[in-house]
Each structure stands twice: as C-alpha cells, then as structure tokens.
Amino acid sequence: MPKSEIRIGGLGGQGVILCGYIIGRAAAIYGGKHATLIQSFGPEARGSACSAQMTISDQEIGYPYVTRPDILVVMSVDAYTQFAPQLKPGGVLLYENELITVDNRLPADVHALGIPATRFAEEIGRRLVLNIVMVGFFASTTGLLEFDAVERAVRDSVPRGTEDLNLRALRRGHDYGLEVMAARA
C-alpha cells in the first residue's frame, strides 16, 4: 500500500482526535501498518477548530506532517472551508452531509462522499458517537482498514460500558459506506 495522508477536521468536542486515534490504532496495532498522528487544537476545549494529521503506510514513515491529504474527513463547515482546497486532485472527501454543503472549492476529480453522521448518531442514541460513525464510514469507503481491525480499536479506545453503542455507531457508518460505494459502482 502506498503512503496515505489523511486529515480529519472538525470542532473541539466532536471527537476529532479520538477519530484519528482509533484509525491509527486500527492501522498500526491491528492492521500491521505504520501510522502517525499529529493533533492540533484551539485554546478552548469545545467549539474551537480542531484537526488531526495522519499518515498510514506499509513502510516506515519518515515525515509525519500532512500538506496535501489524499483523504480529508470533515465534520464542520469551518474544517471543510479551511482544508478542502488542500486535498490532492483525485483525493477523497468524507463529509457530514447534513452540516456541510460541498461547493466549487474542491480540487479537480475529488470523490466527495457524504454521510448524515450526526443524524445516525442521534438515532443510535447519542450524538456523541458521530465521530465513531465517521470511523466506520472511513473504513468502508477508503478500504484502508479491515472492519475487524477498526472494531477492535474502538473496543480498546472507548470507556468500558459504552462499547455496544459505539460499535453500533461504527457498524452504521460502515454499512452506509458500503451502500454509498455500491451505488457508485
């Protein structure tokens, strides 16, 4: 697998960093790959811009910073506005499609795949698990991670007692991603 550069963006409190952490853990601990994660935050715990830069590769990673991501995951309008122009041409945009409207700032040939992740999370029982829905969507649309690896990473990463709800969120995002990909095929 060639190196994949990923950026995840959203607001503080949406679980942007946890989203990156789980993807990285699934790749590095359960997927046999190499992964790096760099986090950046605003000064506030909630509501400020927040993003994670990740690299996943079969090879060792010498430089962990992401300038032109292959994959961009966005959960807020601000994150989309800021990071969408940086996507590589032909890259993949995964976005919360009830919060964000895709416009012409996207580079050429970007594959934009939307998911109503917030609504799904609310239907499952907790808006809080929006980020886990996105992790599931990431796994099935990018094909970078096996579902089993992501499932194990979620189990490891969330508080004990909340696993079931988080795994349902993961499955919902994953299944929706499969539907989206089937519709595009």
Partner: protein
C-alpha cells in the same frame, strides 16, 4: 429484529443452564402461559393484568428495540422469566429506563433475576440511557439484593404504596443506577484538547 449476542446461555448459581433471548412475535402463548402459572401473590406486584386475554399479544406488539425491550429466559424451551426495559419516547425522562422483571417461583433466589437484569442494564447503556430505575416492594429482599449487586441503590421510598394479597400495606422502594458517568467519560475522551497544552 435479530440482536447480536443472543440467545445467550447463562449458568445459574445451582449450575442450571438457561437461555436468554429477546422476545419474538411467536412467543405470545408461551408468555401468557408463564404469567398464568405465576402465583397470584407475584402477579399482584405487576403493573398490568397479565392474565387478561390478548394481553401478551398486545405486549409483544409494543416491543421495539429502543423503547420497549423484552427478554425471555427459557429452560429447555419453557419460559421461566421475563424482563423488560421501558424507555419514554419523549419528555424530560427520555434518558431514564425502567426495568421490570418476573421470575417463576422455581427459579427465584437462583440468580435468574440478576442475570436478566444484568442483560437489561447492558442494553440500557447500549442505547444511551443515563439512569435506570426499578421498583421493588420492601419485603422483596432477594430482588433488592440482586439490583444492589448490579450497582443500584435506594433512590426513594413510597410509603404504603402497595397492598399485598393479604391486604397488608407495604412500601415501594425505587432503586436506581446512574450510568451517566459512562457518557461523561466518553465526552471527556472527545473533548479535543491537549492536557499538556500551555505547560
């Protein structure tokens, strides 16, 4: 709806194995038979007249995944316990679930009630509830102990709230378990700030 992890086999304190699974539309007759066989004294503490014709069909129709979730415990295909989690569809207590359990006399004090309650507590957490309550009559010591083992505590006592089969007035104890700390832990994990920033 097929739920992952079910049917679940549990072994009770005396080594008897029981199977626990979500109730299904075909269970109406077996459920009605289970409640018919409960002693009148036990049925008295139930909220509904479970012996009314058509009750079990109506009850099963009301069952869904999120608002009414009901489990049966079976011993070789015979229903020996029924446990249900109720959740309000709207309003200020939508974060609270209520557990109701009935166990056949032969299996009371064998740990079956605890096993059923434990499954419902797990389910309550998995659908995002923050608080779970159960009503226990003051002299139901076994039921109180079972809930205490699962982390419930006495939340309120309604004095003289129920009358038993002999006309004796008894207190109703509201027991509750607060699982909001789980979601607070999840929210803390998602706060997206650096604990070392500014150091």
């Amino acid at each position: 709806m097929k739920l992952e992890g079910y049917p679940k086999d549990v072994t009770l304190r005396d080594g008897v194995s029981m199977s626990i699974r979500p109730i299904e539309p075909d269970d109406a007759e077996a459920l009605a038979a289970f409640y018919r066989e409960l002693p009148g004294e036990d049925r008295l503490f139930l909220r509904e007249d479970v012996t009314r014709p058509g009750w079990s069909e109506e009850f099963i129709r009301s069952v869904d995944f999120d608002h009414v979730f009901s489990l049966l415990a079976e011993d070789n295909g015979r229903v020996m316990g029924n446990a249900t989690l109720y959740r309000s569809r709207h309003g200020w207590s939508a974060h609270v679930g209520e557990i109701r359990i009935a166990v056949a006399r032969a299996y009371q004090r064998h740990g079956l009630g605890t096993a059923l309650a434990s499954q419902l507590v797990q389910h309550a957490t998995s659908i995002g509830l923050e608080k779970i309550v159960a009503h226990v009559v003051e002299n139901q010591a076994g039921a109180k102990r079972a809930f205490e083992k699962l982390g419930f505590h006495k939340d309120a006592v309604l004095r003289g709230h129920v009358k038993d089969i002999h006309g004796v007035t008894r207190d109703l104890v509201v027991m509750s378990s607060d699982v909001s700390h789980l979601w607070e832990a999840m929210a803390a994990l998602m706060a997206d700030y650096s604990p070392t920033m500014g150091e």
